[in-house]
């Protein structure tokens, strides 16, 4: 071999090595979305090399599960049972998650560009739809929806009949026997009407229920659907903004399983512009309760007779939080509720069993030092936590009828409640301008705190892992992991660069 050939080959070899290009995913932005709290993990989606990244906060283990396309939108299931990811390829992928990690993605091709989702209570089905005002592109149909069978991996897209409106929201009921068949009812809320679907028969033509007369130009916007059982019949109570009436929908005893049963519509008087509704079986039978903030009135409605009893609440009330408690007449345990208004300085304890008969004497007001908001119940307890205008965390004890304020140093951030209701976690900026995570023992109101390395953008509760995760919003994942117990600085585990875990082990 001549020296010239050797030199040429050497140059070619060097040129070849130099020209080696790295994988394209390393040149794309990570473009992480998240973190999302799942039951046992914290999850991100990554666009660069499409994947779901999972952090098991108890063990610190990070795993990746590949996606078929870069995620465009991600919807975590509210109970943390999985992620619904809509990819740039237009398909929806349901990624179930449990304590072992994520399972095999269930891929469902779609044609619509949906921007919102409603999950069923059991996460078996979901409905994708266009959130109000979110339709775009060249020419889109905001009334197109997709009914997803998450377990079976089937998606059915269809366009709902419209009367000039578009979905304001979608509410899914639980799978239950309705009109002689196992069904899962879904309610697509639109201005002046709602569409009723049976997700167990996803191709069946929807039934449209008009909430106004044809010539009525009022703006009636259905906002809440509450399930109840009246004389053995499944009944759905629909509250609508702009209406003083409550709409009760019941179904016939029997209807073909492959059709959506046509509901009967009854209008119940509900006061003046109710803002919350409860349907509960109390001592006198099924009753519907509404809170009317405009008139500071609580209403008790008998859904059978349509009789309404209005009770002056003594303070503006717009929300009702039901809980079980001993009845004031000593007749055992019954239903009570906490009634309150956003930023109101008075909450009212209501004995729902006795409200119809005793009226004002069934109410116990509690005047607070400042307006409360962001009230969350404590699961399994007769209590709640709220924030107030004084920058306090307020512990409400429904039994003792007390409100214990816990003053935050400089500002109070996110508040999360332990699933057992025993503890409350929050982020606080202290007087020293440092960021802290705090844990409040509900029984003793004892506060422990741990200093965080940076400001937390989100506070995620991962109950299955027994951990609290504060996200510090770095492009490559930066979190503080804390135990669901008393906190101190030594218990903060900081992890940074999570989304680059194993990046060099290509």
């Amino acid at each position: 071999m001549s020296p010239r050939v050797v030199v040429c080959l050497a140059l070619l070899g060097l040129a070849g090595l130099t020209a080696c290009d790295r994988p394209a995913d390393l040149d794309r932005p990570l473009d992480a979305q998240g973190p999302f709290a799942l039951s046992h993990h914290v999850a991100w989606t990554l666009a660069a090399d499409p994947a779901v990244a999972l952090l098991q906060p108890a063990t610190g283990r990070v795993t990746f599960a590949a996606l078929s396309a870069a995620p465009r939108r991600v919807f975590p299931e509210p109970a943390g049972r999985g992620l619904l990811v809509i990819g740039t390829d237009g398909a929806a992928s349901w990624i179930p998650a449990d304590e072992r990690g994520v399972g095999q993605a269930v891929r469902m091709p779609l044609t619509g560009d949906y921007t919102a989702v409603a999950f069923g209570p059991d996460a078996g089905r979901a409905v994708l739809y266009h959130a109000p005002g979110s339709s775009g592109g060249v020419l889109s149909n905001p009334n197109q929806i997709a009914i997803l069978d998450l377990g079976g991996g089937a998606a059915i897209e269809r366009s709902l009949r419209s009367f000039g409106g578009e979905p304001l929201g979608v509410v899914l009921g639980p799978p239950q026997a309705v009109a002689g068949a196992d069904r899962q009812m879904a309610w697509v809320l639109a201005e002046r009407y709602l569409s009723v679907l049976d997700l167990a028969a996803p191709t069946a033509r929807e039934v449209v229920v008009h909430l106004t007369l044809a010539e009525d130009t009022r703006s009636i916007r259905p906002a809440q659907v509450v399930f109840g059982e009246v004389e053995g019949a499944a009944t759905f109570f629909v509250r609508a903004e702009g209406s003083d009436d409550l709409f009760a929908l019941t179904f016939p005893d029997d209807a073909p399983a492959d059709e959506v049963p046509r509901p009967y519509l009854t209008q119940l008087p509900a006061g003046a512009g109710p803002s919350d509704v409860l349907a509960l079986q109390v001592a006198d039978g099924m009753r519907v309760f509404t809170a009317d903030p405009g008139s500071a009135t609580l209403s008790v409605i008998d859904p059978v007779t349509g009789r309404r009893v209005g009770v002056d609440a003594g303070a503006r009330v717009s929300h009702l939080l039901p809980f079980r408690a001993q009845r004031a007449d000593g007749e055992g345990e019954g239903w009570s509720a906490l009634a309150w208004d956003d930023h109101g300085d008075t909450v009212v304890f209501v004995d729902l069993d006795l409200l119809e008969r005793r009226r004002g004497r069934a109410l116990t007001p509690l005047v607070l030092g400042a307006g409360v908001y962001d009230l969350q119940p404590l699961p399994g307890r007769r209590g709640a936590v709220a924030r107030d205008a004084r920058n306090c965390l307020l512990l409400l004890d429904f039994d003792a009828r007390t409100a214990t304020p816990l003053q935050a140093g400089r500002s109070l951030g996110a508040v999360r409640v332990d699933p057992g209701g025993d503890r409350i976690y929050a982020t606080v900026v202290g007087d020293d301008s440092a960021d802290y995570a705090v844990s409040v023992d509900v029984d003793t109101a004892r506060v422990t705190a741990a200093r965080l390395p940076a400001s937390p953008g989100r506070l995620l509760l991962v109950p299955g892992a027994g951990r609290l995760v504060a996200d510090h919003q770095a492009a490559w994942g930066w979190v503080s992991v804390l135990p669901l117990t008393d906190l101190d600085d030594d218990r903060v585990q900081v992890r940074e660069g999570l989304l680059l875990q194993g990046a060099f082990d290509r």
Partner: protein
């Protein structure tokens, strides 16, 4: 394809002496005893994980070396060098790889011609390596020592040599100044990269390379 920004590092040091030994050739009335070289070049990193650091699988390097002749053919040397590359990954994360390396080597030098020397060398090395990733507001960085061995084969052409330039010095004197080129290979223990409590993975910086520079012997 973006070009990585490369850094060349040079320095110079050392003195050594050698006891007069047996002469290796007719031009070696006065064989060289000290050899100094400055070289720069590239190292091609074999590990695919280097893709995270750089768009191209190599980094620039430079070194200065000093060796002493134990005999006209067998030499012992020490070199100090460095290499670095800066680039980006995932569009907006700045990356940096830098290493400082100290090499000890034994070298065999053979005069193909009075002014043309072929050499081969082998020896251990120790390297201080830094890998960093930077978002602009946050940095993940790890420094660590790693050990390894290196080998090289090369040629030196010394146009400034008594055998070529008459009157420079005695033609039998081995004083020379010229260019040097070498093909290298470094085998290093891999680095376990852990930063911010996260295991980023294992990077093996081993690989072949080439060096080109100037040499002086006297």
């Amino acid at each position: 394809m973006k070009c990585p920004l490369s850094i060349f590092v040079f320095a110079a040091l050392s003195v050594s002496t050698v006891a007069p030994g047996a002469l290796a050739g007719p031009w070696d009335d006065d064989p060289a005893r000290v050899h100094v070289a400055l070289r720069s070049g590239m190292r091609f990193v074999e590990d695919a994980g280097f893709d995270v650091i750089s768009e191209a699988p190599f980094h620039a390097m430079g070194q200065v070396e000093v060796s002493a002749g134990l005999t006209p053919s067998w030499w012992l040397g020490l070199s100090f060098g460095g290499g670095a590359v800066m680039d980006t990954v995932h569009d907006d994360i700045d990356t940096r790889f830098a290493s400082q390396t100290l090499q000890l080597y034994g070298e065999y030098r053979h005069h193909l011609l009075p002014a043309l020397v072929a050499f081969g060398r082998l020896g251990p090395e120790v390297s201080w390596t830094t890998v960093s990733l930077d978002t602009g507001t946050r940095t993940l960085e790890q420094d660590d020592w790693t050990l390894g061995v290196h080998a090289a084969l090369g040629l030196e052409f010394l146009p400034v040599h008594g055998s070529i330039i008459q009157g420079l010095r005695d033609p039998g004197d081995d004083f020379g100044f010229g260019v040097t080129v070498a093909a290298t290979y470094e085998r290093l223990l891999p680095l376990d990269l852990t930063a911010g409590g996260t295991t980023l993975g294992r990077l093996d910086p081993s690989g072949p390379g080439w060096l080109l520079g100037m040499a002086l012997q006297f």
